[in-house]
């Protein structure tokens, strides 16, 4: 394992289960898509231009003072495993990990702020917060956007606003998203209806790693579907309303799971899941996610699981494939990973 990711601490603040409703909203993210005036967008830029953009962007990020003691990453200098680790931390996207062209990222010391360079746009600025924290995430992301926007000339036209490579991001360039954990709605088979309703409210639901990824462990990323024609605050407000409504539905569903004959079934499912997590000798990431989803819900219901809620939260981060290999200090194949994961988790839950 190269020095690159050793510098990252195992725990991150945005997974510490703080903030409002952490049992239902794992984290909140606000990102801005930005581009530099005077350069083609990454899909049309030459490698030498991409290298120049990265040099300018990382220097500007440093100059803002928001990345003191942070990480400055050149993606193509990293190995597959290190890139995967950064994807699992939500600092870079799958697309950036696959790119062989000059790209990179600046990540703050607390890992709450990051600036991804030369993905679909020159810059993707983001702030990640624990729990349901739209206002905080928005303020911090905006601070980063404004600081970098003083250091660099962003591409902006009065009519269309901030100009981006894909017209779906034009305007505010802003995406507000909450990673919602909805095990009770899923268990009651309500998710298809919930997702159908969401699609009429100007929001999109995606899997845990964003666009084009599958749903794992009943985690859904809910974000605004459009970003032009309204103010940033209005978009935030809309997501805020949708998420509050979703929280109400999940609370009602959890109450349903505790009524009548369903209660015993729910308890049985939760404690079986806990037993599996505590005693398995081989554990794939998918199986871990399915079971931690139930155990996490049990802990949130205040049941005596012998494990606190934030341990489950951090575990969802640490049990990911590249994190397992980082903890092992060496690359492992799938079978070896599953064995290591089971043992590593037993220690965490002991």
């Amino acid at each position: 394992m190269a020095e690159g990711i050793k510098a990252f601490r195992p725990h991150v603040t945005w997974a510490n289960a703080r903030g409002a409703w952490p049992d239902m909203i794992f984290s909140t993210r606000v990102r801005f898509a930005r581009n530099l005036e005077g350069f083609p967008f990454p899909n049309r830029a030459e490698p030498r231009q991409l290298a120049e953009i990265r040099r300018l962007a990382l220097a500007a990020a440093k100059a803002t003072g928001l990345f003191t003691r942070g990480h400055f990453i050149k993606t193509e200098a990293l190995g597959q495993l290190e890139k995967r680790f950064l994807v699992e931390r939500h600092h870079i996207s799958h697309a950036l990990a696959a790119s062989v062209l000059p790209s990179g990222a600046a990540v703050s010391n607390d890992e709450d702020l990051s600036a991804m360079v030369n993905e679909e746009d020159h810059l993707r600025l983001q702030c990640l917060c624990s729990g349901f924290a739209i206002e905080d995430a928005f303020r911090s992301a905006l601070k980063l956007d404004e600081a970098l926007g003083r250091e660099l000339p962003f591409a902006y036209g009065g009519k269309f606003g901030f100009l981006t490579a894909c017209p779906t991001n034009t305007g505010t360039g802003m995406r507000v998203s909450c990673l919602a954990h909805l095990p009770a709605l899923s268990r009651l088979g309500r998710m298809p209806q919930v997702l159908e309703n969401l699609s009429h409210l100007g929001v999109t639901a995606r899997g845990i790693y964003g666009e084009g990824t599958c749903v794992l462990g009943d985690f859904y990323q809910i974000s605004n579907a459009t970003c032009l024609g309204r103010t940033e605050e209005e978009f935030c407000h809309n997501i805020d309303r949708v998420i509050r409504n979703l929280i109400r539905q999940e609370i009602a569903a959890r109450e349903e799971l505790l009524k009548g004959p369903l209660r015993l079934r729910t308890e049985d499912a939760v404690f079986r899941a806990l037993g599996l997590l505590k005693h398995a000798r081989r554990l794939s990431y998918e199986e871990f996610m399915q079971n931690v989803s139930l155990a996490r819900m049990g802990a949130a219901m205040g049941w005596n699981m012998g494990v606190d809620f934030s341990t489950f939260n951090q575990a969802t981060l640490l049990m990911q494939p590249a994190h397992i290999q980082a903890a092992a200090g060496k690359p492992l194949d799938a079978e070896a990973r599953d064995v290591f994961r089971a043992e590593y988790l037993r220690k965490k839950l002991a």
Binding site: P40, E120, G149, G157, K159, F162, L163, L228, G229
Partner: protein
């Protein structure tokens, strides 16, 4: 009753269905507008000539089909509008001005609006290019300046000279 899609006043009596690359377009026109579009259809006079009709139709569809038929290009990066339609990705910030009317329509479809109502941006510091990048940009400007002088575009040349001066001042 269906109204003419051109003048929106008269009743449409000419119905045209055309399949291009598996895309079917249907057009309803009144006889007057159809005639204006060169589709007065020789049928009435009996002078039926298939090549005339096809020729007239392609004249009409130059306005009607999506604009890439005219190879619309971005003046800044050279991206063709057809390439954008293929990939869904624009080439540079300048594409927004080059394809403004097409994008206005597209934005309305995607976002339900075509005007930014969010934060205004006052602009940031000028880029401090690396020596190599500044050198390349100066080369490009020098070539453009020479071309401007050759075609006696002295206003353009003055602008380019200013751009070169400011670039030289910012050279890292």
């Amino acid at each position: 009753m269906k109204y003419c899609e051109e003048c929106h006043k008269a009743a449409a009596s000419v119905f045209l269905k055309l399949a291009v690359n598996n895309k079917v377009t249907e057009t309803h026109l009144c006889p007057a507008c159809a005639a204006k579009k060169g589709m007065g259809l020789g049928l009435e006079t009996g002078a039926f000539n298939i090549s005339d009709i096809v020729g007239n139709m392609s004249g009409y569809f130059k306005d009607f089909l999506p604009p890439e038929r005219r190879t619309l290009r971005c003046g800044s990066c050279g991206l063709k509008y057809s390439e954008f339609k293929e990939s869904g990705r624009l080439g540079c910030p300048g594409c927004y001005a080059s394809f403004e009317s097409q994008l206005t329509e597209l934005m309305t479809r995607i976002h339900g609006a075509a005007h930014h109502s969010g934060r205004a941006y006052a602009g940031g510091a000028a880029l401090k290019f690396s020596k190599a990048e500044a050198g390349r940009r100066l080369e490009e400007l020098r070539a453009e300046l020479k071309a401007a002088v050759d075609r006696e575009d002295f206003e353009g040349a003055a602008r380019l000279r200013d751009a070169m001066k400011s670039l030289e001042a910012r050279r890292g």
